[in-house]
């Protein structure tokens, strides 16, 4: 069986400017931040990002890498508004396809099921239809005759997700309370890259956890990366909670300053800089 392990930089070497990237997690939870940081180190730009938005959207927007965003929100959870996303929107930095959370999910499901669209009872009557003039509606062919939004499939060139454990073949396991939509992101994508806290032997995955925790199946996965702390500063329950102090720093520091101190080097440099910052303030 093929060994799909690679480094974050190998993942990024397979991505190109202009691609549509889906990013897993939700808000400031289990975001594949090490992969996103690697993306920031590259010159890849002009991206269409599809995300239940958190700091992944914030950093990519601040760094000017997004051409178009597909999202229902962007939040840091304990800090309700994502400040860098907000600033980018207010200066008109990218195009936005703002859709309802449910429309987003139905769009991923359509892509995963190789359907051009799925009907959903959401969006109608709201300004989601006004700000997305390309959205079409569809009428039920049955007696009810109800009208629905035909959410277009959100097909992705690549998906980036982060989970607790994975094996070398790409079977991914989540140990927290919520799978979010990470398996769907992988199924909706032509290629998918799974970062994880720890790569373990396949047999190890179900030694202490039930098989229902095996969220991501290897046939949907292109590459696996071991990145301990790879979701930092977002949460990755039960391995770690959100780094609230660091998130606050991120939210209140001007982007150029934050980026220069924490993101100029590689992932090891990032971890060292975060450690130093924590030591300085204690």
């Amino acid at each position: 069986m093929s060994d799909k392990t690679m480094t974050v930089d190998e993942v990024v070497s397979r991505l190109d400017s202009g691609m549509t990237l889906g990013i897993g997690g939700w808000g400031s939870r289990r975001k594949p931040m090490a992969l996103v940081r690697a993306l920031l180190r590259s010159r890849i730009s002009d991206l269409t990002i599809v995300s239940y938005g958190g700091p992944d959207v914030g950093v990519l927007a601040a760094a000017g890498r997004i051409r178009k965003l597909v999202a229902a929100f962007a939040t840091l959870d304990s800090i309700p508004l994502e400040p860098h996303y907000r600033a980018a929107r207010e200066r008109g930095a990218f195009e936005l396809m703002e859709i309802d959370e449910a429309m987003f999910l139905w769009g991923l499901r359509a892509a995963a099921n190789r359907l051009p669209f799925l009907p959903v009872r959401a969006g109608l009557g709201s300004d989601v239809m006004r700000v997305n003039p390309g959205l079409r509606t569809v009428t039920s062919p049955y007696e009810d005759g109800e009208t629905f939004v035909a959410v277009p499939a959100l097909r992705l060139d690549a998906a980036l997700v982060h989970v607790n454990r994975a094996d070398r073949q790409g079977n991914g396991q989540y140990l927290g309370p919520d799978p979010y939509f990470d398996d769907l992101f992988c199924e909706a994508a032509d290629t998918a890259y799974v970062s994880c806290e720890r790569i373990v032997d396949t047999a190890e995955l179900t030694k202490e956890a039930p098989p229902q925790t095996l969220l991501i199946r290897r046939h949907t996965v292109t590459g696996v990366v071991e990145t301990p702390g790879g979701a930092h500063f977002t949460s990755c329950a039960p391995d770690y909670t959100r780094d609230e102090a660091f998130q606050k720093l991120y939210a209140r520091t001007p982007w150029a300053e934050f980026s220069a101190r924490f993101l100029d080097g590689d992932e090891q440099d990032y971890r060292a800089a975060v450690r130093t910052w924590h030591e300085e303030r204690s």
Partner: protein
């Protein structure tokens, strides 16, 4: 207890009337999920669950369904939460950055959507909610900035935009001044009750559209002794509710 030893119970605070007003949104709701956004709606949902709406489902704010004492009784991750909402067995009480007379709600942005002056959260699940199950709103600070003539982006769908959608139902808007519903012929907002101490003038002054506040608007009902005890001793002993809605200064 003899009369001599009876300790006077302090009168209900404005925050406590708000908790009662929120709780009432779930009266008679049956076995559905109560989804409160914000502190006072959460206290209201839990109060309802402990008293007159014992069949309600509550979440821990993450992926679990829990009883009032925290006992886990189910699993509800985001993806199934969205399915539950689409299935209709939910009554959400959402926030609103702006709301208009027909109940259109905005949490997306202020100003022109294509280049907002203030980017807010985003549309989130507001359109799914309002087209699939009962929806109420909680506004902790009633003002002309929130109660506007027209919202900048329709997220939650109001009566004029819903056009009779089959499951659309806006139940109530609770603010720090009163309770408002849409039980008028054209489904425009109507004061259903004012919290004790609030005058009709105060409400008119704080609302950015014409609101027919007559002199005959009743007051929000009093909490029972049991309800007050539950709020004060069980649900919020630290008194955080008065930080969300402080008591108004006493007018002499």
């Amino acid at each position: 207890m003899s009369e001599a030893t009876r300790v006077a119970v302090p009168a209900p605070t404005r925050a406590e009337y708000c908790v009662i007003a929120c709780a009432e949104a779930w009266r008679g709701a049956g076995e559905i999920l109560a989804s409160p956004m914000g502190l006072i709606p959460s206290l209201g949902a839990r109060l309802a669950r402990l008293t007159f709406a014992p069949d309600l489902l509550l979440t821990d704010g993450e992926a679990l369904l829990v009883g009032p004492d925290g006992t886990v009784e189910g699993w509800l991750p985001y993806r199934q939460h969205l399915t539950l909402a689409a299935g209709g067995r939910r009554h959400v009480m959402m926030g609103a950055s702006q709301i208009d007379r027909f109940g259109n709600q905005n949490i997306s942005c202020v100003g022109d959507w294509s280049r907002p002056t203030r980017q807010l959260l985003g549309v989130r699940g507001a359109t799914l909610n309002t087209l699939n199950h009962p929806t109420s709103y909680w506004i902790p600070k009633h003002s002309r900035r929130v109660f506007v003539e027209q919202v900048d982006m329709v997220c939650g769908v109001g009566y004029d935009h819903a056009d009779g959608a089959r499951y659309h139902h806006l139940a109530r808007v609770v603010s720090d001044l009163g309770v408002f519903d849409f039980a008028t012929p054209d489904h425009s907002m109507r004061p259903a009750s004012l919290h004790p101490g609030v005058t009709p003038d105060q409400v008119r002054e704080a609302t950015g559209f014409d609101l027919a506040v007559g002199a005959e608007v009743p007051y929000t009902r009093e909490p029972t002794e049991t309800e007050l005890r539950l709020i004060r001793e069980v649900l919020d002993p630290a008194g955080t509710r008065s930080r969300e809605v402080p008591d108004p200064p006493t007018v002499i």
